[in-house]
């Protein structure tokens, strides 16, 4: 509670800008900006949500064949990636906490750590996908065509959903790099932090999606 007075401009209701000529610049409204970000995150949620709905319905239809597919996935790799992403979420949250305490140096280091985690996640993912490809487990392969329909749809969903998730990891990583540059340039400061908070929110969303992807794909075997 102690430092809550540090950001006074966060509290008030924004009033319409009374300076003609500055029409394009609305007043700094961090609450509004975060609200906009959350609304955007809802769209991301529903975007993945539609794919989760597909997963659930196909699970009902194919049941134990999904388990067969799940047994082929490496719990070790998936688990490792879960830890990596959880840790990256921690470092990102800490990076923002450090900025709130005006500790720019620490914040930048923590953002570096987050980016390292993001890259690490993608590397593990690449090995994982590579392994599947090496075993002929990829869409349109001859081996896939021989599997049961349940396994085929399981792997299709696996590639599509983890693929979309990986895309979000990449976007999130780039956003963190970008916001770090802005911190370095002094464009994001303790008193104008909302841009960084929003990037943080995005990164946590990436984590959230993975929290569901991991058990659904790797642990139902």
């Amino acid at each position: 509670m102690s430092g809550s007075a540090a950001i006074p401009d966060d509290a008030g209701h924004p009033v319409p800008d009374a300076h003609p000529g500055h029409h394009d610049i609305m007043p700094y409204d961090p609450v509004g900006a975060r609200m906009g970000m959350w609304l955007f995150l809802l769209t991301e949620l529903l975007l993945f949500g539609a794919m989760f709905i597909a997963f659930c319905m196909y699970y009902i239809q194919h049941g134990w064949r999904f388990s067969l597919g799940s047994q082929e996935l490496s719990t070790a790799m998936g688990g490792a990636n879960t830890l990596v992403l959880l840790t990256s979420s921690l470092t990102m949250a800490l990076a923002i906490a450090a900025m709130q305490r005006r500790n720019t140096r620490l914040s930048q280091q923590l953002m570096n750590a987050t980016i390292v985690c993001a890259v690490g996640f993608l590397v593990v993912k690449a090995f994982e996908w590579g392994g599947k490809f090496a075993h002929g487990l990829y869409p349109t392969s001859d081996h896939m065509a021989e599997l049961s329909q349940g396994e085929q749809i399981f792997y299709s969903l696996y590639f599509v959903m983890t693929g979309f998730h990986a895309l979000h990891v990449i976007i999130g990583g780039v956003l963190i790099l970008w916001v770090k540059r802005r911190v370095t340039k002094g464009l994001v400061t303790t008193d104008r932090l909302v841009m960084m908070e929003n990037v943080g929110l995005y990164w946590h969303l990436v984590d959230l999606v993975w929290i569901f992807l991991f058990p659904l794909f790797y642990l139902i075997g």
């Binding site: 209701h13 319409p16 394009d24 509004g32 869409p139």
Partner: protein, 542 residues
């Protein structure tokens, strides 16, 4: 800024002329200018799609082939649907009038994210351009619904139209985010939630649907693309998929989308009726809440589009029940509007006639919707021209009518000038007669078994189609009259003054057309949006 000026003059400077040149328009972040840019594009697309519709009607004038092959007809039909749905009706009222009036009505100088607002327009344009490119490449023949498995198998180029739909979806999502955040953050401090004009309530509910439901269809269309171009099976039954799941995911958005279209239209009706009956709106809170209820319940009824697709019986019963339920809040609104008119001091001006047309046409659309809600009748009329007529009564008769109603209501505020009253009456009359003449025969033909989406028909349907085609000409004449009247009004109409209709919302306090920066000071709510008693008699009759 009193509204009693006897001879109003146009303000020298307004948002229209404070900056000049095409570039100042294309880079503007002013919500009013963005609204006008949407208006121009949307009207152009509307006219294009209307001409396509006229061509279809002309082909159907007699049975047998007139001038279109079956495949051409399919392409024209798809194009008519795609343009009307994605480029006209969905963005229509929110993008044009929402952008222009939402900030003014809540006492703000702009939306919360003005640059994002401009970005939405460019998303819209990118989607529109892609849609047109897809036409140049030979068009699509899937209908606007892009159903699998056909959309996975057709030879037509689907990449571009699906991308177009995806971009247009993002345009409406971004506008939705902007509107919700704006309503939450930028209401003038003295305006509580239940002091907001009902049009704003309608837009708010709409924006929520856009945010929640659009991503579902967005990703679904992308999944179809992935399936087509990368061979990954998602909906392909041969690879373990389920084509009916596509229909679920498609309608999870596309049914609420009709409420995206109709809620703002209802909002406009709620603005027009009290102004012209000089009476406070009846049951303000019920109308406001019913907007949210329609958005909420309307999101639960999607599967009634799939009654003949092979869904489980229990599912169909459940969705049938929910579909009946959604008619309740819609009816609440209609009763409230009628109660507002009752013992009001009604002044018949063109906007009110549009509202009447809406009440009539939309009620027919609503009642014929109930026959779809009840399972047994729906099986009989599913995929017949009855559905086409029902859809056009709700969407065109409801939303399309109120798009023009909003035009005729707010045109003086947007351009500062007035159109010709007598010509407006002629236009509306032609519109109304033509509309009913066009679509009532389709109801009858559908009840007798005329399937939808067919380029040809058996001779026994000839008279229905002949009437219908004649109706399309009368309707087109009406729309032409309405548009020409407005275009003439823009150039040489009489100055309208700040409050030509004697309204009571905040937009009536700013000049017509408003300056770029409409509120120099934070506006105070001295009276509710529908309190007319503070006007003097002269103001009212002016």
């Amino acid at each position: 800024m009193s509204s009693a000026d006897t001879a109003p003059a146009l303000p020298k400077l307004s948002y229209l002329n404070e900056q000049k040149g095409l570039k100042s328009w294309l880079t503007t972040v002013d919500h009013k200018r963005i609204g006008i840019m949407y208006l121009v594009m949307i009207l152009i697309f509307f006219v294009v799609a209307m001409l396509l519709g006229l061509a279809m009607r002309l082909e159907l004038l007699h049975s047998g082939k007139q001038f279109m092959e079956g495949t051409t007809y399919n392409t024209v039909m798809t194009l008519h649907g795609v343009i009307m749905i994605f480029l006209f009706i969905i963005p229509g009222i929110p993008a044009v009038f929402g952008n222009f009036f939402l900030p003014i009505m809540i006492g703000a100088n702009d939306v919360l994210f003005p640059r994002l607002n401009l970005a939405s327009w460019y998303f819209y344009m990118a989607g529109a351009v892609l849609a047109l490119i897809s036409v140049a490449l030979g068009g699509v023949d899937t209908g606007w619904t892009f159903y699998v498995p056909y959309s996975g198998a057709t030879d037509a180029n689907l990449l571009i139209p699906l991308l177009a739909a995806f971009l247009l979806g993002w345009s409406s999502i971004l506008t939705g985010i902007n509107f919700v955040a704006t309503v939450h953050r930028l209401r003038t401090p003295s305006m509580g939630w239940f002091d907001m004009p009902l049009f704003v309530w309608g837009l708010y509910a709409t924006a929520w649907i856009a945010i929640i439901a659009t991503p579902v269809v967005g990703i679904t269309l992308v999944l179809v693309l992935i399936e087509r171009f990368m061979g990954i099976g998602i909906f392909d039954a041969a690879k373990g998929g389920d084509p009916i799941l596509f229909q679920h995911l498609f309608w999870i958005y596309s049914h609420p989308a009709v409420y995206v279209m109709v809620l703002p239209a209802m909002g406009v009706v709620s603005e027009i009726i009290p102004v012209f009956s000089r009476k406070r709106i009846f049951g303000y809170k019920f109308i406001a809440i019913s907007s949210l209820l329609i958005a909420g319940i309307g999101s639960l009824v999607w599967a009634h589009h799939m009654n003949t697709s092979g869904m489980a019986n229990w599912g169909r019963v459940l969705f049938s029940f929910l579909t009946f339920l959604v008619s309740v809040p819609s009816a609440v609104k209609v009763f409230n509007w009628l109660a507002t008119l009752y013992k009001g001091s009604i002044k018949v001006d063109p906007p009110l006639l549009f509202a009447f047309a809406f009440l009539f046409l939309f009620s027919i659309g609503g009642f014929t919707g109930l026959t779809h809600a009840s399972l047994s009748t729906d099986i009989h009329i599913h995929d017949t021209s009855y559905v086409v007529a029902h859809f056009h009564y709700t969407m065109f008769g409801g939303v399309g009518t109120m798009f023009f109603g909003a035009m005729y209501f707010w045109f003086p505020k947007m351009f500062g000038r007035m159109y010709k009253r007598s010509t407006a009456f002629v236009g509306i009359t032609l519109f109304f007669i033509g509309f009913n003449c066009l679509y009532i025969p389709l109801f009858l033909a559908g009840l007798n078994g005329m399937p939808r989406r067919y380029a040809d028909y058996l001779p026994e349907y000839a008279s229905y189609h002949a009437w219908s085609t004649v109706g399309s000409w009368i309707l087109a004449a009406g729309i032409l009259t309405m548009c020409v009247n407005l275009l003439q009004g823009v150039r040489k109409g009489k100055p309208a003054g700040p409050n030509p209709w004697g309204g009571s919302t905040l937009d009536c306090d700013v000049p017509s057309p408003p300056p770029t920066h409409q509120f120099e000071h934070v506006p105070e709510m001295t009276h509710g949006p529908y309190d007319y008693h503070h006007h003097t008699t002269e103001e009212v009759t002016a």
